[in-house]
């Protein structure tokens, strides 16, 4: 089945540093969707793009579908960015979104 690998498993930054989160997937994806999981468990959709680069605020998502990888760049990290970031891939017409295990980000003052 589809597999999604995220790296690093955890990341510790000082406020103001940039973060680069990686996502690799095992089969051809039609889209990659990034989520932030709140401490209580609920998910916030951050960015979604099937290929290329997309920006919103301090977030940049880059997906290279033919190389089966994607990344999420967080610039000028803030303490409130701390939490778990999940990458999920969708296959064509599968009705399935497969999640990675997540990257736990800690931003310190």
């Amino acid at each position: 089945g589809q597999q999604v690998q995220q790296s690093p498993a955890s990341l510790v930054l000082q406020e103001g540093e940039n973060a680069e989160l990686q996502c690799n997937f095992s089969s051809t994806a039609t889209r990659l969707q990034w989520f932030y999981q709140r401490p209580g468990g609920s998910l916030v959709s951050l960015l979604s793009n099937p290929s290329g680069t997309k920006h919103t605020g301090r977030l940049t998502s880059t997906t290279v579908t033919k190389e089966r990888r994607g990344s999420l760049h967080i610039s000028s990290s803030q303490i409130t960015d701390s939490g778990t970031y999940l990458c999920a891939m969708g296959g064509a017409n599968t009705g399935k979104l497969t999640f990675g295990h997540g990257t736990i980000l800690r931003v310190h003052p």
Partner: protein
Amino acid sequence: AQTIHQWPVAEIKAVGSPLSLGCTIKGKSSPNLYWYWQATGGTLQQLFYSITVGQVESVVQLNLSASRPKDDQFILSTEKLLLSHSGFYLCAWSQGPNSDYTFGSGTRLLVI
């Protein structure tokens, strides 16, 4: 605007007791609906999906069942809970199989 509502927010249930979790989507007709489950410290796993009323596909077998009695409602249930059912249950919707997913706030279940 579309809204997705899950109930209850949390449950503590005894092993062997029945369970019913609900999910309602407002503001969108004929959405694709999904149930996900996350064990503590685990990865989100898709359990079921439905593209239309009365039709549900199972993705992972966990001794649970799902039903879609109305266009805007998705129900997850079991007649006998197991300890392994503990975790966090999330409902989601999308416009189609290749569209972005939007998740509800989830239900935290503890089976004792």
